[in-house]
């Protein structure tokens, strides 16, 4: 049968991201997907030669506009590990709260985009309506909506007083109620199920071999979540990785829905037992040594490799983003799929090419 190459992206209704796919199709079946990324590679890793390790937190936070806080947090944790800085417990809890708020707004962003991709416009709007409430909480507690700027080496810049904690807990009640309404539709609506169930199945072994991370890995039944490593305040909170066993697009959606409620629970736990005390310690000297730091972003495990030689500029700064790790799985999912399923499959890995083009 004759083969046709259909270009997909970088300007596509479901994926306004700088990634291009050449879809080799036979009739309506995709037999191969050839990716092109790197259109806007920013070279942020190279910037460590210009910015000293203290001010580089601002650069790390700008790697992504969605999981910005966790990028900054991971960078800070890596430097703190090299320099053996004792971060105050209160700062750990505050980082956990803001990290989980980031996860909620990222997952809601994805759910909205997924609904939009399926043509379910009202669900898209409801998802983003709830997301606005989360962004309002973030703005009230950090001063920022996209870039929080609240994490620094040695702790955090802002505290939450008793009033802010009370207001946040009260707002969480409303957010949780709204989340339950939105996720009920995602998990039970027949049109959502018809669009996602059985589409793009990844077995646990395939997900593992392809190096998948985050909800993509957990939806295939592999219980890997970097939060179980116990960084920040997670070692003192109760949580278990959310998993599904079906491995299809619906399972990837369901994992994110369940993780929304898990994040609400984690924020409540953290604010319920947040210890009093300082929020930062003074940092003196320059880092010397190396470390690989892993944390769990909304899209999955992010890896920061830092190497320092005792000067104020790092010798090497390398970020492996979750989307970078999930791209091979996306290409695998596209092989043999129907052309009409391509947007759904691309969306289900929650691609963030902005992160990947660090």
């Amino acid at each position: 049968m004759a083969r046709t190459i259909i270009p997909f992206g970088p300007q596509h209704p479901v994926l306004p991201e700088p990634i291009h796919l050449d879809l080799v199709v036979e009739d309506e079946k995709v037999v191969e997907a050839r990716p092109s990324i790197g259109f806007v590679h920013r070279g942020l890793e190279k910037l460590v030669e210009k910015k000293d390790f203290i001010e580089f937190v601002y650069v790390a936070e700008r790697i992504c506009g969605i999981c910005s806080f966790i990028h900054g947090q991971t960078y800070c944790q890596a430097v703190e590990a090299i320099m053996d800085i004792p971060v105050p417990p209160r700062a750990h809890y505050l980082r956990t709260v803001w990290g989980e708020l980031s996860r909620i707004h990222s997952h809601l962003l994805w759910l909205g985009l997924m609904a939009d991709g399926m043509g379910f416009e009202s669900l898209f709007m409801h998802s983003w309506r709830v997301r606005e409430r989360v962004l309002n909480v973030i703005e009230a507690t950090t001063g920022g909506r996209v870039i929080f700027g609240s994490c620094k080496i040695g702790g955090v810049r802002r505290d939450m007083d008793a009033g802010a904690i009370k207001d946040t807990l009260a707002e969480l009640e409303t957010i949780e109620r709204d989340l339950l309404q939105v996720t009920r539709v995602f998990l039970n609506d027949s049109s959502v199920k018809r669009r996602l169930c059985g589409v793009g199945v990844l077995s646990p072994q395939q997900a593992h071999d392809l190096g998948c991370v985050g909800p993509v890995l957990r939806a295939s039944g592999v219980a890997r979540d970097m939060r179980t490593l116990g960084y920040a305040a997670y070692q003192e909170l109760e949580m278990a990785p959310v998993t599904r066993t079906e491995g299809d697009s619906f399972a990837r959606c369901a994992v994110r829905c369940d993780e929304l409620l898990q994040s609400i629970s984690l924020i409540r736990q953290a604010l319920g037992k947040i210890p009093a005390g300082d929020i930062a310690v003074k940092v003196t000297g320059n880092p010397k040594g190396e470390v690989i730091m892993r944390t769990e972003q909304p899209r999955g495990e992010v890896v920061y490799c830092l190497k320092a030689n005792g000067s104020k500029n790092l010798q090497r700064f390398r970020v492996r983003t979750p989307t970078f790790a999930n791209l091979p799985a996306m290409l695998k999912l596209l092989q043999g799929c129907e052309l009409a399923d391509v947007p759904v499959l691309v969306l289900t890995i929650d691609p963030c090419i902005s992160c990947t083009e660090r």
Partner: protein
């Protein structure tokens, strides 16, 4: 908190065998990181074993840097290997998917392959003499 992790420096000739051993133990490939150092490149292959991080490191000379591809063992390694080529000009032999230098469209070719020269010491500013 410093995460628990191990690092083993191995010879380039032992890379494939060591990576195969990792795969046999059920390790997931986490990342490959190249670092340009004076006189050599340092390549770190990191693996996850039940949440424990284990890294293998090879050091290769800066002149004609070559390393075998691990793509036949870990199919997902092709992105890391193309990245090493495009940013550091490291020749990865036998890549399963080769973008031939087109994974990243950077203005400066192999920009990460250079080692930053030590900054010159700042000279005292000349203050104009007033009569």
């Amino acid at each position: 908190m410093r995460p628990e992790q191990t690092l083993e420096v191995i010879a380039v000739a032992a890379l494939l065998e060591s990576v195969r051993a990792m795969q046999a133990r059920g390790a997931r490939l986490v990342q490959i990181c190249a670092t340009a150092l004076p006189g050599q490149f340092e390549l770190t292959y990191s693996f996850d074993l039940e949440n424990r991080l284990a890294s293998l490191r090879v050091e290769i000379p800066r002149e004609h840097p070559r390393v075998p591809s691990i793509g036949s063992i870990y199919g997902c390694a092709f992105l890391y290997e193309n990245e090493m080529h495009d940013l550091f000009n490291i020749q990865v032999e036998g890549m399963t998917v080769d973008f031939h230098g087109n994974l990243y469209n950077t203005t400066v070719k192999f920009a990460f392959g250079e080692v930053k020269a030590p900054a010159p010491k700042p000279q005292p500013a000349l203050v104009p003499q007033r009569d």
